[in-house]
């Protein structure tokens, strides 16, 4: 394990999950794989911490779950974005951009 991996800032996991699901329904393991690959292995998402977050999002109604056959024909729990979830993704993504722009501005100072 190399040391140049990043710890996830607090509260961004939800955003990442919503984004990962915006491309289509996925099961938990696939989400973790996707985050790993898309971030070019820089984001360190402990695999276990994914599940409490998934269940929390499901409770809030931003994602919905159903059981389906996986690629290798096993029963897996698939998550997908709901309409509320899409709206939430837009909101959170916009907020994130504003935050990073603001932080960049501060860092670019003098």
């Amino acid at each position: 394990m190399s040391d140049d991996r990043l710890e996830l800032p607090q509260g961004t996991l939800d955003l990442l999950i919503l984004k990962a699901l915006s491309l289509g329904a996925q099961h938990g393991w696939a989400i973790s794989e996707r985050l790993h690959q898309v971030s070019r292995a820089t984001l360190q998402v402990p695999q276990g911490s994914l599940y409490p977050a998934l269940h929390r999002l499901e409770r809030r109604g931003w994602i919905a779950a159903h059981w389906d056959a996986s690629d290798n024909n096993r029963r897996a729990k698939y998550y997908e974005l709901t309409r509320d979830g899409r709206r939430q993704l837009k909101v959170e993504a916009a907020e994130w951009r504003r935050l990073t722009v603001a932080v960049d501005l501060v860092l670019g100072m003098g």
Partner: protein, 901 residues
């Protein structure tokens, strides 16, 4: 927003009710993840076992993830509460004795409070059923000043009602009403029932529509004689007419007249009645017009000397109470002037200063609150104290239990259970116990409550039962309070638990010390018991004093006989002759010692007239003088003593010189410092012949047991309204023994549908003593209960202490302490607590005595004898409660005590 709430609710409901399924799904989901991950590693060439190990490593702690996921479901607190509840039930079932003791104690406390709440709620807080906007509705009270200061009364005449209706502007409704007890129906089905005699406008005060027919209207409620129509109460319609619609149009005899039924009031409608729901309602002018039939019928709405009804008013919206009272007072001043125009003898308005008050519609919250209500309020306070004592007892039991479970709690803390969680469990336990106590209490309130209601409330008045939401809410609050209070003590204890100490020390713990909290609770119980016992003793003494009070006549042997005429009105001469016949028949009844005619009966009615005495400007200003009239045997029959001069003889007949016997108080008031015998006064007008005083009688209580000034005089019945006479009979034994025989003998003498009412004087006087009777009964019962609870509490704690100290006591005995030393030590401990309790309790009782004083009768609230006796009783009980366990401890042989672990 709503979709999200819905989604949350659905998710949580599933989390609670489908917990097993959710757990299985979670398992499966996580297993799938791990296998996928392992498959990836295997694909990279790792052996199966290593692949799985790597997968687990990357995943993190499986159980931790599961736990976090469950937290994410948002129902953890519910699950925890469920666990705590199961844990509490298990723990309580392990100690059935403790559980039963606690539930019974709390049940008693809650039950008494629930029952008393139902009563006080009904007396003080609840507005009449169906009344619209009770806050705007007022009962009107008249006020005036007389010799004794400010007087307040709700009773007035119909003429006053008309004056108020004419002269006030701030009200959108006014109604006069009275509840009269009248014979209803005819033949064998007739019965004396409460009848609402009301203005047609009273219906406007209520959100009530007739379930059948119609209510009577203002056009049917007019002077001099209203329409002879009746509206039945729902209950009476059901009971008498089986709820049949053909009751409409039927004719019903009420009192001396016949009324046509025109409607039925809705269920629950009772108008405004302090004596329970009336059976039916008739126009107030129909009643008064019939009652005052004949040439004098105009009297009731033009003159003011018949005060028999009350007035309710409803403020117009936006009118303040102060403005309403100013309006009423102005009207009352005008009305007073009108009265003075008729009776110039009345006190000048500058002195009388007539005014009117707008009181609450509930009579018992008004200025003339009955002593029964005040006693009921006190008793509810006392019931709360009993609950406090019960709570203290339970808290003590819980503490003892907490001490016994000290090691268990310490072990659980050591195993990592959070203190918050532990508190939750302890609190769940006490709330569970309180809940069970509340259920027991409600059951007790249901059975015992009926008994209490019968004591405090008039018959037929419905009061809080289990079905009543207000009582249920109250009980819930009380139970929660009790649960919180009793749970608090062990929590305080648990907070201080020192893990290491608790784990180290075994049962062989020589350094046992009772916590200060528990000692304080015991002293508190003792103190509160002292307060209640002092109250009980004061009321018992008052009751004894009031019973021993001589009223100026004998009560037990005397019966009062009232001939109730119905149908055709008898001419005066016939009515007088009927009464003489009844008197002769009464005399002949075996067991009757003597019988006499009279005019009024104490506490039920009085007769007044204007008095004129030479040399005195206004006799009225000196007080209210009541008239009694009697036949020659009157004084012997009633047992009223003639102090000087003579009573009446057969010579004092109509046409003979007018004579009177006056009470000692009246003689002293009208002719102070002089011999009243031979003086004379005029009755009714100063132009009539003079009545000469021939005798002085002892003072009697005509209107009140406590405050009667005894201003009364007696006239020979032959010279004063012989047609209105009533009959008194004196039995050889108790009046109740001859009652039925008298009724049977006299009944056939009554003409037409008339009948005789025979009432032992005791039954008339006893209601006057009711407040002391009630106070004594309730205080003794609750004080006794408090003492028992306190004694059981002290005993329990002492027994527990002794058991805890068995080892220490064994060592002492082994070292040579003798049994009496040990007993002295333990009893001394208990006595110290009791003495502290007595001291504190006595101070509280002394301090609160001044509020209790008005309810007592010739009894100082600071009576040293009462305090001494109560202190003695409490110390004696405390000694016994601590001596029993102490003696038991000495009987254990030291070797056994030392060996026990």
């Amino acid at each position: 927003m709503w979709a999200r709430l819905w989604s949350e609710a659905r998710y949580r409901a599933r989390a609670v009710f489908r917990r097993e399924a959710l757990e299985r799904e979670l398992d499966e989901e996580l297993r799938f993840h791990l296998e996928q991950e392992a498959a990836r590693h295997r694909a990279a060439g790792l052996p199966a076992a290593e692949a799985m190990r790597q997968a687990r490593l990357a995943f993190g702690g499986l159980e931790v993830v599961k736990e976090q996921t469950r937290d994410g479901r948002g129902v953890r607190w519910l699950e925890r509460a469920g666990q705590d509840l199961r844990y509490a039930v298990r723990a309580l079932r392990r100690t059935p004795g403790f559980t039963v003791a606690v539930i019974a104690t709390l049940g008693l406390g809650v039950g008494i409070n629930a029952a008393m709440f139902g009563i006080v709620d009904r007396l003080l807080f609840r507005a009449p059923p169906l009344l619209r906007d009770p806050a705007r509705v007022h009962r009107v009270y008249l006020q005036w000043h007389n010799r004794n200061g400010l007087a307040t009364g709700a009773m007035m005449g119909y003429a006053s009602y008309l004056d108020f209706r004419r002269a006030t502007t701030q009200f959108d409704a006014l109604a006069g009403y009275s509840v009269r007890s009248l014979p209803v129906g005819s033949g064998p089905a007739s019965a004396e029932l409460p009848v609402g005699v009301i203005s047609a406008t009273l219906f406007d005060f209520f959100d009530a529509a007739p379930v059948l027919g119609r209510f009577f209207t203002a056009a049917e409620d007019t002077v001099p004689l209203g329409a002879q129509v009746a509206v039945l109460s729902h209950g009476f319609w059901q009971a008498r007419y089986g709820g049949r619609p053909d009751a409409l149009g039927q004719v019903l005899r009420v009192g001396t007249a016949a009324y046509t039924i025109i409607g039925v009031a809705p269920r629950g409608f009772e108008g405004i009645s302090d004596e329970g729901p009336p059976a039916l309602f008739i126009p107030i002018t129909a009643y008064a017009g019939v009652f005052r039939a004949g040439p004098n019928v105009a009297n009731y709405y033009t003159r003011y000397n018949w005060s028999w009804m009350q007035l309710v008013v409803r403020r117009k919206p936006g009118v303040t109470r102060a403005a309403a009272e100013a309006d009423l007072s102005r009207a009352q001043r005008q009305s007073y002037e009108a009265q003075r125009a008729i009776s110039p003898g009345m006190t000048a308005p500058e002195i009388a200063r007539p005014a009117a008050l707008a009181g609450p519609v509930q009579a018992e919250r008004g200025p003339n609150q009955s002593t029964v209500t005040r006693v009921a309020t006190w008793v509810s306070g006392v019931a709360l104290i009993v609950l406090l004592i019960a709570c203290a007892n339970v808290a003590n039991l819980m503490l003892a239990r907490a001490v016994r479970r000290r090691r268990e709690i310490a072990v659980r803390l050591a195993l990592g259970v959070s203190r918050g969680r532990l508190f939750g469990q302890l609190l769940t336990e006490s709330l569970l116990l309180a809940g069970a106590g509340a259920v027991v209490g409600l059951l007790l309130a249901r059975t015992g409550g009926a008994l209490l209601r019968a004591l405090f409330l008039p018959a037929n008045v419905a009061a809080g039962t289990l079905a009543d939401p207000r009582t249920a809410a109250f009980v819930l609050a009380v139970a929660a309070l009790a649960g919180g209070l009793t749970g608090l003590a062990p929590l305080l204890q648990a907070r201080r638990t020192d893990l290491v100490e608790a784990l180290k020390s075994g049962a062989r713990d020589g350094g046992y010390r009772r916590s200060r909290l528990r000692t304080g609770l015991l002293a508190l119980q003792a103190a509160l018991s002292v307060v209640l016992l002092v109250g009980a003793a004061l009321f018992v003494q008052s009751l004894r004093n009031v019973r021993a009070l001589r009223l100026g006549y004998d009560v037990d042997p005397v019966v009062y006989i009232y001939p109730e005429q119905r149908g055709a009105r008898l001419a005066d001469a016939e009515a007088a002759a009927l009464r003489l016949r009844l008197l002769e028949s009464a005399r002949a009844v075996p067991g009757v010692e003597s019988a006499a005619l009279g005019l009024t009966v104490p506490f039920w009615d009085t007769w007044n007239d204007n008095l004129f005495v030479a040399g005195i400007d206004s006799v009225e200003r000196l007080g209210s003088f009541t008239i009694q009239a009697g036949s020659p045997e009157f004084f012997a029959t009633l047992g009223t003593r003639i102090l000087r001069g003579r009573g009446f003889t057969a010579e004092d007949r109509a046409g003979a010189p007018l004579v009177a016997v006056v009470s000692q108080a009246m003689a002293g008031t009208l002719w102070p410092g002089r011999e009243a015998l031979g003086e004379c006064f005029r009755i009714g007008a100063d132009t009539v012949p003079c009545t000469t005083v021939v005798g002085i009688a002892e003072d009697i209580h005509q209107n009140s047991v406590t405050t009667d000034r005894g201003l009364s005089y007696y006239l020979p019945i032959a010279q004063f309204h012989p047609e209105a006479a009533v009959i008194f009979a004196r039995g050889r034994g108790h009046g109740r023994e001859v009652r039925e025989l008298l009724r049977q003998t006299l009944q056939p003498e009554m003409p037409g549908e008339g009948y005789v009412n025979v009432t032992p004087l005791r039954d008339i006087v006893d209601p006057e003593l009711r407040s002391w009777q009630l106070g004594a009964t309730m205080f003794v019962a609750l004080g006794g209960l408090a003492l028992v609870l306190a004694a059981v509490g002290l005993y329990g704690v002492m027994a527990y202490d002794v058991a805890q100290r068995a080892h220490e006591l064994g060592v002492r005995m082994a070292l040579g302490a003798r049994a009496p030393d040990v007993v002295r030590m333990v009893v001394g401990d208990g006595m110290r607590i009791a003495v502290a309790g007595v001291a504190v309790g006595s101070l509280i009782a002394l301090w609160s005595g001044r509020w209790l004083a008005p309810l007592l009768f010739e009894q100082s609230p600071a009576d040293p004898v009462v305090f001494g006796v109560v202190a003695g009783v409490l110390l004696l009980v405390a000694t016994m409660a601590s001596a029993i366990p102490a003696l038991r401890a000495t009987r254990v042989s030291p070797t056994v005590a030392l060996r026990t672990e």
